[in-house]
């Protein structure tokens, strides 16, 4: 690989502590500024947002928000109460992995010569991943599933020249008839 590629990723990012992290799900009013209010609750208390997924709810009056957060677990109860207290937050729940479905999607851009394709595709097949873009010199793979699986796929593909990864962040849904 003699080309100079500008990359926005470090080669092997430190493994994010998502496993030990917490996932919060909120139903909020679909209005400008709501995310600002919520982010301030976290920033003030030194919580880092590992991932934020916001989308319009089925009822467009509301939005769904899934937050992956890390920080002192002792303060989490307080964070949930402070978020619940916001007028624009309908509810805020923490979801444990055992009782919820948590998924994310990742796009991985790999610099590869045609000779490397076969091996990469083999790896992707194992993870039920797909190629969504293919050129003479590069490939974009799409991996979805729980965060562990995505981590493992990225890890395995790291022997090739990954130049960018973009992760959606976790979305969560409570199992059974529990509200998310």
């Amino acid at each position: 690989m003699s080309q100079t590629i500008v990359t926005t990723d470090t080669k092997l990012p430190p493994r994010p502590d998502i496993l030990g992290g917490h996932t919060l799900s909120m139903l909020v009013n679909n209005q400008p500024g709501v995310l600002m209010r919520i982010c301030q609750v976290f920033a003030r208390r030194a919580y880092n947002l590992d991932s934020v997924v916001v989308s319009k709810g089925r009822d467009p009056q509301f939005s769904r928000l899934t937050l992956g957060i890390s920080g002192d677990p002792a303060g989490l109860d307080q964070i949930i109460k402070q978020c619940t207290k916001l007028i624009d937050v309908i509810h805020c729940y923490e979801h444990q992995e055992a009782h919820s479905v948590t998924k994310e999607l990742t796009l991985i851009k790999i610099l590869c010569a045609p000779t490397e394709r076969a091996e990469i595709l083999q790896v992707l097949e194992h993870f039920n991943a797909k190629t969504v873009d293919l050129t003479e010199t590069s490939m974009v793979a799409m991996v979805s599933g729980d965060s562990d699986k995505v981590d493992a796929a990225v890890q395995l593909l790291s022997k090739f020249e990954i130049i960018e990864t973009v992760r959606t962040g976790k979305v969560v849904m409570a199992r059974g008839d529990t509200a998310t």
Partner: protein, 570 residues
């Protein structure tokens, strides 16, 4: 009708009696509507937007009803921040209406444009930027509802000039729609929590009630009295809880905390059950959190679930309105045998009374003691922040709810005088005394014009030691007496300054004159008066619990040894 007229009409319908504010370009249509709409609202022009907020705050604390604040965009809104924060920290209902640039200029650095919505998010209970003229009545009704229910607080409504100027064609009485806000649940108390509290109470030998601002906001003074007298239980109160339980009552211990009475703090240390009614366990009450009340069970009654367990572990939490909670609790309790406990506390009252030296110059404590004696506690007292505030809290025993107005959580200097103006508007027949220091008074004394114009008989008691006394006290105790940034050299002659505003002035320089001149000031009701009291500089407030220390480490008198710098809180 235009949007601005819809705003004033809606505020009038909601029963808003006063709007305090300051005009400006982006608020022009709303100010015009004050003239064109036939309403019962009275507009009071302050001399600074911060003053307007504190006036609305003082009005709300003195009456229990919210007032509105009306200012322009940019700097007008910016100047309200301290006032809004003060209200938010102490759970005071307030509606703030800010003018804003026209909608199509937002985000383009237009003249006097500021992101008021963004700036104020951390200091309000809620805020909203209204982008449609027809949405104004709903936004204001919702703001009023949010400000005045549940745990009260300030709500800001940002109104772009075109939104207030455009024709209004909507519904003037729309339904409010707040799916994420359900304050009515605070009137439904989990009976299991009440049962658990009653069970803890039945086993208590040394119970103590901690009465906070929440009890006052809920109007629970009768239920609190019933609880205390039924249980024969002593009562201490927070700074903001002053008056919810009469401080001259036999069971009253006065204020606890950093500068609370020694006997209140000793009661906290030795009780075996603490019943907290509507206090948020502020850091100036609890000292070192993990050692607070370590030997006692704790019952915490609070309307705000996020206060439970925030600072202090609780054994039983009752979430809801204090009046409803105490009503239910009172049905389930029986008298306790507390004779020995009360005798112990009486011993502390005799051993560690509040006091001050009467020789060696004029002390603030004497002035506050005498004003208490002269009024018999029948006055509304507002304070600023600092030494005078703590001495006022100690020596002025508040008798009734809404008679004590002080910036607790925010500790806002400059609060006391404008708050007194608001209080006097709200309670015109009442003696209102603003106890201020020479530092804080100078931050908002431009409101002398407002007070003079309306001939408000506010007594402005300037306890003048030519120093920022509380900071100087900390420098003396913890920073080797290195005075830095505390000498208020250059103070004006406060009496002459008052006279320049057409305000009556009194000077007190000798201890022997205090009672006589205070009486003259109390009898002067033709307008405001300023009583400048020249006090000694070197006096310190005791008792004192250094920040973050345990209540057991309370200093009842000046320490003999050099103290370590406090590391907990401020």
């Amino acid at each position: 009708m235009d949007g601005a007229q819809a705003i004033i009409t809606t505020l009038d319908k909601l029963g808003i009696e006063y709007i305090f504010g300051y005009s400006g370009g982006a608020a022009l249509p709303i100010f015009d509507a004050l003239e064109t709409v036939d309403s019962n609202i009275k507009f009071i022009l302050s001399r600074h937007e911060q003053g307007a907020c504190h006036m609305a705050d003082g009005y709300a604390r003195a009456t229990g009803k919210p007032a509105a604040v009306l200012v322009t965009s940019g700097p007008g809104a910016g100047n309200t921040i301290t006032g809004i924060m003060t209200a938010q920290m102490d759970s005071i209902p307030m509606l703030i209406i800010t003018g804003q640039q026209v909608t199509w200029m937002l985000g383009k650095d237009a003249f006097q444009e500021a992101d008021t919505f963004g700036i104020t998010i951390p200091v309000v209970k809620h805020n909203v930027l209204v982008r449609e003229t027809n949405a104004l009545p709903k936004a204001i009704k919702e703001a009023y509802h949010i400000a005045t229910t549940g745990r009260p607080g300030p709500v800001l409504i940002d109104v772009p000039k075109n939104v207030s100027q455009d024709p209004f064609t909507g519904d003037l009485d729309p339904e409010i729609d707040l799916p994420g806000y359900k304050p009515e649940i605070s009137f439904t108390i989990d009976s299991a929590s009440v049962d658990a509290a009653a069970e803890l109470i039945s086993h208590a030998k040394r119970p103590l009630i901690l009465a906070g601002h929440g009890a006052m906001i809920a109007g629970a003074e009768a239920e609190l009295m019933q609880l205390a007298t039924t249980l024969n239980c002593p009562v201490t109160n927070t700074l903001l809880g002053k008056g919810v339980f009469p401080e001259a009552h036999d069971l009253a211990l006065g204020m606890l905390g950093m500068h609370g009475t020694a006997y209140a703090n000793k009661a906290v240390c030795e009780c075996d059950l603490l019943i907290n009614v509507g206090s948020r366990f502020d850091d100036r009450i609890i000292g070192q959190a993990d050692k607070f009340c370590s030997g006692a069970k704790i019952i915490h009654i609070d309307i705000d679930p996020s206060e439970i367990g925030k600072m202090i572990r609780t054994d039983v939490a009752i979430i809801g309105d204090a009046k409803v909670a105490l009503t239910q609790l009172n049905e389930k309790i029986a008298p306790l045998e507390t004779t020995d406990w009360l005798a112990t506390l009486d011993g502390y009252k005799k051993k560690f009374p509040l006091g001050y030296r009467k020789q060696g110059g004029l002390r603030m404590q004497q002035v506050l003691d005498e004003i208490y004696q002269l009024t018999g506690g029948d006055a509304v007292v507002t304070t600023d922040v600092g030494q005078h505030q703590m001495w006022a809290a100690q020596f002025y025993k508040t008798a009734a709810p809404f008679d004590w107005i002080s910036s607790g959580g925010a500790g806002t200097m400059g609060f006391g005088f404008p708050a007194a103006i608001g209080a006097q508007f709200g309670r015109p027949g009442k003696t209102v005394i603003a106890v201020v220091g020479d530092g804080g008074y100078q931050m908002t004394l431009c409101e002398l014009a407002t007070a003079a114009l309306h001939k408000l008989p506010v007594k402005i008691l300037v306890l003048n030691n030519h120093y920022l006394g509380m900071v100087r006290q900390w420098q003396e105790l913890f920073f080797d007496n290195r005075e830095s940034g505390v000498d208020l050299e250059g103070n004006p002659d406060f009496v002459k300054l008052a006279e320049a505003y057409g305000v009556k002035g009194f000077n007190i320089k000798r201890p022997a004159d205090v009672g006589k001149i205070l009486q003259k000031a109390l009898d002067y009701n033709d307008g405001p008066c300023v009583i400048n009291v020249e006090c000694i500089k070197t006096e310190n407030v005791f008792p004192m619990i250094p920040a973050g220390a345990t209540l057991e480490e309370m200093l009842i008198e000046p320490p003999k040894h050099k103290m370590a710098k406090p590391v907990g809180s401020t």
